[in-house]
C-alpha cells in the first residue's frame, strides 16, 4: 500500500512515546514539556501540501512515502571512519565536530581552540537541564510557519551547542560535519544546532552535510539557531555536495546584534530534495547581512532556497546574491524576501538572483519579494533567467576552445562570482575544484 504524508504524520505522533522511552530522558526534565508542546504544534500543522504558498514548488508530500522512523540508536556497524574522508577539505585546519546519524561522535571530533569557545552536545545539555538550551528552545521566532521546525523540536536528539565567548577571535573555523550513513530502513534524524557568538568576536563556521543512505531514504531535518552579539563578525558556510538520495530540510534562524556582520554562504549541488530556509533578523542598528548562494543542479535534483532578510531596526544593510545553474531535469527554486519593518528607516537592501538554464528538462521558479513598511529606504531586487551568451561562446570558440569547454568555462565564470566571496582559502580551493570537476573542464 502507498504510504502518504498523512500516514507518516500519524505514525510519528503515535510513536512519540516509544521515541521518548528510547531516549531515556528524566521524566521531570523540562524537555518533556517542550517536546510535547512542539508535537502538538506539529500535529496541528501537519506536513505542508502544495497549497501552502511557502511550499508551492516543493511538493514535499511526494517524498514522504516511506516509513520514516525517528532514529534513537547509534548503529554499531556504522562506518564513520570510512566515510569521514569524504568530509575532508584539504589544507583546512579547523575545530572539527562530527555528527553521524544525528549523534555526536566525540572520537572523531577535534577541538583545537578549547579556550575560546564552549562546546556541549545537545543530548548531554538536555540531560544536564542546561538553562541556556531551554531558553533557546523556548525562543523560536518563526513559530507559525514551518512544521519541520516543530518536528525537529519534538524529536530532536542531538546537535551542537556552541558558545563563543566575548572578545574572542577564532583563529580556525569550526567545522561541523553532519553525516547520515545507511542503517537498513528509512530514518528521520532531527538535529539541532545552537550557536551563540558573543560581543566583539570574529569567527567562521562551516557546516557540511553528507548523506550516504543510498537506497534507504533518510530524511535529515536540521534546525540551526544562531545568535550574533554586538560588534561581531560571523561567516557561516554551508556545503551540500554529498546528499545523494537523501532528503534534506534545513531551517536557519539568525539574529544579528548591533554593528555586527553576518555572512552566509550556501553551496548546494546535490540531493533528491534539498530545502534551505534562512531567516535572518537584523535586530541591532548598523548591522549587516550578506547572503551568498550557489545552487548547481543536475539529474533529478530539487533544491529550494528560501531567504528572509528581516530589517527590524533602522540603519541596516543587506546584500544578497544567489546564483543558480540548472541542468538535467533539475528543479531550482529561489524565494528571497526583503522585509523592512515599520520604522526601519535608512535601510539599504539589495538582492540579485541570476539563473542559468542549461537543459530542456530543467525548471526554475524564482520569486524575489519585497515587503516594505518604511519610506526612507532603498531596496532593490533583480532576477534573471537565461542561457549562456552566444557571443561569449563564439569568442571562446574562435580562440580555439571546443564547444564543451567553452560552455564549461563560461558556466564556471558564472559560478565563480559566488565562490570568490569565500574568505577561507582552503575552502575556496575545495569549492573551485568541486565545480571544475562537475563541469569537466579539461586542459
Amino acid at each position: 500500500m502507498m504510504i502518504t504524508a498523512n500516514d507518516v504524520k500519524s505514525k510519528l505522533i503515535e510513536n512519540f512515546n516509544v521515541f521518548e522511552l528510547n531516549l531515556q530522558e528524566d521524566e521531570s526534565n523540562p524537555i518533556a514539556e517542550i517536546r510535547r508542546e512542539a508535537l502538538k504544534n506539529f500535529e496541528a500543522m501537519g506536513f505542508p501540501t502544495r497549497r501552502h504558498e511557502e511550499w508551492k514548488y516543493t511538493p514535499v508530500s511526494k517524498y514522504l512515502k516511506y516509513d520514516f522512523e525517528p532514529r534513537t540508536f547509534t548503529d554499531n556497524g556504522f562506518a564513520a571512519k570510512d566515510a569521514l574522508p569524504d568530509a575532508a577539505i584539504s589544507g583546512l585546519r579547523a575545530n572539527v565536530l562530527v555528527f553521524v546519524n544525528g549523534k555526536f561522535q566525540a572520537a572523531h571530533s577535534d577541538i583545537i581552540e578549547t579556550d575560546k569557545f564552549e562546546f556541549r552536545d545537545i543530548a548531554s545539555a538536555i540531560n544536564a537541564e542546561d538553562p541556556y538550551l531551554f531558553s533557546r528552545l523556548n525562543a523560536v521566532i518563526d513559530r507559525e510557519k514551518d512544521p519541520f521546525i516543530w518536528l525537529n523540536q519534538a524529536y530532536m536528539r542531538d546537535g551542537a551547542m556552541i558558545r563563543i565567548k566575548d572578545r574572542v577571535k577564532l583563529q580556525y573555523p569550526i567545522y561541523l560535519v553532519n553525516m547520515e550513513l545507511p542503517s537498513k530502513g528509512n530514518y528521520l534524524d532531527n538535529v539541532r544546532h545552537l550557536i551563540r557568538v558573543g560581543d566583539h568576536c570574529e569567527a567562521s563556521i562551516i557546516t557540511n552535510y553528507i548523506n550516504r543512505s543510498g537506497e534507504d531514504r533518510n530524511l535529515g531535518n536540521y534546525f540551526t539557531q544562531v545568535e550574533v552579539g554586538d560588534h561581531s563578525h560571523l561567516q557561516f558556510y554551508t556545503l551540500q555536495y554529498e546528499l545523494g538520495n537523501g532528503l534534506h530540510i534545513g531551517n536557519y534562524e539568525v539574529q544579528v546584534g548591533k554593528e555586527s556582520t553576518f555572512s552566509t554562504f550556501f553551496f548546494s549541488s546535490d540531493g533528491r530534495l534539498v530545502r534551505n530556509v534562512s531567516n535572518i533578523i537584523l535586530r541591532g542598528e548598523h548591522s549587516e547581512g550578506h547572503m551568498y548562494g550557489l545552487y548547481s543542479l543536475d539529474g533529478n535534483d530539487h533544491c529550494d532556497n528560501r531567504t528572509v532578510i528581516d530589517h527590524a531596526v533602522p540603519d541596516c544593510f543587506s546584500n544578497e546574491l544567489y546564483k543558480g545553474i540548472l541542468d538535467g531535469n533539475s528543479v531550482g527554486v529561489f524565494n528571497g524576501k526583503i522585509m523592512v519593518r515599520p520604522g526601519a528607516q535608512k535601510t539599504n537592501a539589495y538582492q540579485h538572483n541570476p539563473n542559468l538554464i542549461l537543459s530542456r528538462g530543467a525548471t526554475l521558479h524564482a520569486k524575489p519579494q519585497l515587503e516594505i513598511f518604511a519610506d526612507d529606504v532603498k531596496c532593490t531586487h533583480g532576477a534573471t533567467s537565461g542561457q549562456l551568451d552566444e557571443e561569449h561562446l563564439f569568442y571562446l570558440r574562435s580562440r580555439g576552445l571546443d564547444a564543451a569547454n567553452a560552455k564549461a568555462l563560461l558556466t564556471y565564470a558564472f559560478a565563480y562570482e559566488v565562490v570568490e566571496k569565500v574568505k577561507i582559502p582552503a575552502l575556496r580551493e575545495f569549492l573551485e575544484k568541486r565545480i571544475q570537476g562537475k563541469l569537466l573542464i579539461h586542459d
Binding site: 537543459s359 519579494q369 519585497l370 516594505i372 519610506d375 529606504v377 533567467s385 542561457q387
Partner: protein, 481 residues
C-alpha cells in the same frame, strides 16, 4: 510640522472629488443569490436557453469555491446574499437619439465631464455608456457598422450576434476560472462586446464609461473583444463612482482574443470611490482580465491607471499562444488613506519567440498598502521567449507599505527573463534640485510623480492620458496645488 509632513498629510487626506448620487428611477431585485436570481436575470434580459445553462453551471461551481486568500489584502468578509444582483434603468424603448435618454442620466455624464453629445461631436470617440448594469445608449454605431465593426452592449450582442457570443464567451476566462470570475459568469448583468473583422483597423477608440450608481448593487460587467486576423482596436475603459458609506462589490470579467497579426490595446483609468480617510466604504474591485494572443504575431497591450477603489484585486494577463506574439502590461497604481491594492499581471508564454514587457509603478501614501504581484511563466515550448519586467515603488509617508511579489517560472533554456524592482521615497537630492530652481515642494512632488509614472502614462491614448494625469493630480491634491 515640517512641510514634508504637511504635504504627505494633505495627500493622504484629500477627499474624493467625484462623490454624489444621481437619482435614477431603478428597477432592481431584492438582495440575495440563488438559481432563482440567475433565472430572473436571464429572463429579464430575454436570454437564450444556452446562456442560462452556462450561468447556472458557473453558479453551481461557484457554490463549491471559496474566495481566494493568497493575496496581500485584508478583505472584510463579504455577504454575497446581501447584494442585489440586478439593477437597471426602467425598461427602455429602443433609443434612436440622445433626446430619449433619461435627462438625469445625461446630467450624470455631464458631471463626469463626458457629455455624450460633446463626445459625439468633438472627440470622435464612440461611447457605450453603461450606467449600473444596462447599456443605455451607443453612439457612432452606424459609422462603425460600415466597416463591419460590431460594438454594442453584451445583452445586445447576445440578441443580435448569438453565434459570436456563444463561440467566444468564456473562452479566455472559463466560467469556473476563479471565485469572482465564476460569480460574474453566473450573474453578469451587462458589459461591452466588440468584434473587429478581418483586416479592419478600427478608426476610432472604443470607449465605455462605467458608473456604479445604485447603493448596494454589485456590478458585474462582462466585456468581450475579438480582433480577427490583421485587425486593430484600441479600447478605453474609465470609471468614477459616487461616494457611499457601504462597500460595493465589483467583479468584472474582461476577455480579449487576438488572432493572427491582430492587435488589441486596452486602457483603463479606474477611479472608483476609495472609501474615506478612515477606510469606511469604498468599492471592492475584484476583476479578472485576461487576453489570449491566439494567432501568430498578435499583440495585446494592457495599460492601467488605478487610483480608486478601497480594495483592488486585479491581474490583467496575457496568454501568448501564437508564435511571435507580444504581451504588454503598463500600470500605475496609486493608493492613499487606507486603500489596498494587490495588482499585477500574468504573462504565460506558450508560443515560440513570444515577448512580454511589464512596467509597473506603485505609489503609496497615507496608511495604504500597495502590492505588485506578477507571474512570468515560460513553458517548455516557448523557444526564445523574452520577458522584461520592471516594478518600481514610491513611498510617500512612513505608515504606508509597498510590496513586490513577482513569480518567475521558466522551463525553457532558450528563454530570457529579466526582472527588477526598486522601492524608495522621493530622493532628497531630487527635491532639492527642483526647489533650487524655484519650485515649491508641492510642484516638485507633482513633477516627480509625473515623471515616475511617465513611462506608463505615455502609453495611454491621448484623451485618456490627459484624464489620467488629471486624476493623479487630483488624487495627490494638496501636494500638487
Amino acid at each position: 510640522m515640517s512641510k514634508d509632513d504637511k504635504i504627505i498629510q494633505e495627500v493622504a487626506g484629500s477627499e474624493y472629488k467625484y462623490g454624489w448620487v444621481s437619482d435614477l428611477d431603478e428597477d432592481r431585485i431584492a438582495p440575495g443569490l440563488s438559481e432563482e436570481t440567475i433565472r430572473f436575470i436571464s429572463a429579464k434580459k430575454e436570454e437564450p436557453e444556452w446562456l442560462l445553462e452556462w450561468r447556472l453551471k458557473a453558479y453551481r461551481q461557484w457554490l463549491k469555491m471559496t474566495p481566494p486568500a493568497w493575496q496581500n489584502l485584508d478583505i472584510p468578509p463579504i455577504d454575497f446574499q446581501a447584494i442585489s444582483y440586478y439593477a437597471a434603468p426602467k425598461p427602455k424603448k429602443k433609443l434612436e437619439s440622445l433626446d430619449e435618454v433619461d435627462p438625469d442620466l445625461l446630467a450624470t455624464f455631464e458631471k463626469l465631464g463626458i457629455s455624450l453629445e460633446e463626445q459625439k461631436r468633438l472627440t470622435g470617440v464612440a461611447v457605450d455608456a453603461v450606467i449600473d448594469s444596462v447599456s443605455v445608449t451607443t453612439t457612432f454605431k452606424e459609422k462603425l457598422g460600415e466597416l463591419g465593426v460590431i460594438f454594442c452592449s453584451m445583452s445586445e450582442a447576445v440578441r443580435e450576434h448569438p453565434e459570436l457570443v456563444k463561440k467566444y464567451l468564456g473562452r479566455v476566462v472559463p466560467p469556473t476560472d476563479n471565485f469572482y470570475a465564476a460569480l460574474n459568469s453566473a450573474v453578469f448583468s451587462d458589459g461591452s462586446f466588440a468584434y473587429i473583422p478581418k483586416g479592419v483597423r478600427c478608426p476610432m477608440e472604443l470607449s465605455t464609461y462605467f458608473r456604479i450608481n445604485a447603493a448596494g448593487t454589485g456590478q458585474f460587467e462582462r466585456t468581450l473583444i475579438v480582433a480577427e486576423e490583421g485587425s486593430y482596436v484600441s479600447y478605453l475603459e474609465g470609471c468614477t463612482a459616487p461616494q457611499r458609506d457601504e462597500n460595493q462589490l465589483h467583479a468584472a470579467v474582461v476577455e480579449l482574443i487576438a488572432f493572427d497579426d491582430a492587435e488589441i490595446k486596452y486602457s483603463t483609468v479606474q477611479n472608483w470611490y476609495p472609501g474615506d480617510k478612515n477606510g469606511v466604504g469604498g468599492v471592492y474591485n475584484f476583476v479578472t482580465k485576461r487576453g489570449i494572443c491566439e494567432g501568430r504575431r498578435s499583440k495585446i497591450s494592457w495599460t492601467q491607471v488605478e487610483t480608486g477603489s478601497a480594495i483592488t484585486w486585479k491581474y490583467p494577463s496575457c496568454i501568448l499562444k501564437g508564435d511571435d506574439s507580444i504581451g504588454e502590461f503598463y500600470s500605475v497604481a496609486l493608493t492613499r488613506n487606507r486603500q489596498q491594492a494587490d495588482t499585477g499581471t500574468k504573462m504565460i508564454h506558450l508560443g515560440k519567440n513570444t515577448r512580454s514587457r511589464i512596467i509597473s509603478k506603485g505609489i503609496s501614501a497615507g496608511q495604504s498598502q500597495n502590492s505588485y504581484r506578477g507571474l512570468v511563466s515560460i513553458n517548455k515550448g516557448a523557444e526564445n521567449a523574452r520577458n522584461y519586467s520592471q516594478c518600481d515603488s514610491l513611498l510617500l509617508g512612513d505608515r504606508c507599505g509597498a510590496h513586490t511579489f513577482p513569480y518567475l517560472d521558466c522551463s525553457n533554456p532558450t528563454a530570457q527573463i529579466e526582472h527588477e524592482a526598486t522601492t524608495s521615497k522621493i530622493g532628497e537630492d531630487v527635491l532639492f534640485y527642483c526647489r533650487q530652481r524655484g519650485m515649491d515642494e508641492e510642484e516638485a512632488t507633482a513633477l516627480i510623480i509625473n515623471g515616475f509614472s511617465r513611462e506608463v502614462l505615455k502609453k495611454l491614448p491621448m484623451e485618456f492620458a490627459v484624464e489620467a494625469q488629471k486624476l493623479l493630480a487630483i488624487s495627490l491634491e494638496g501636494s500638487v496645488g
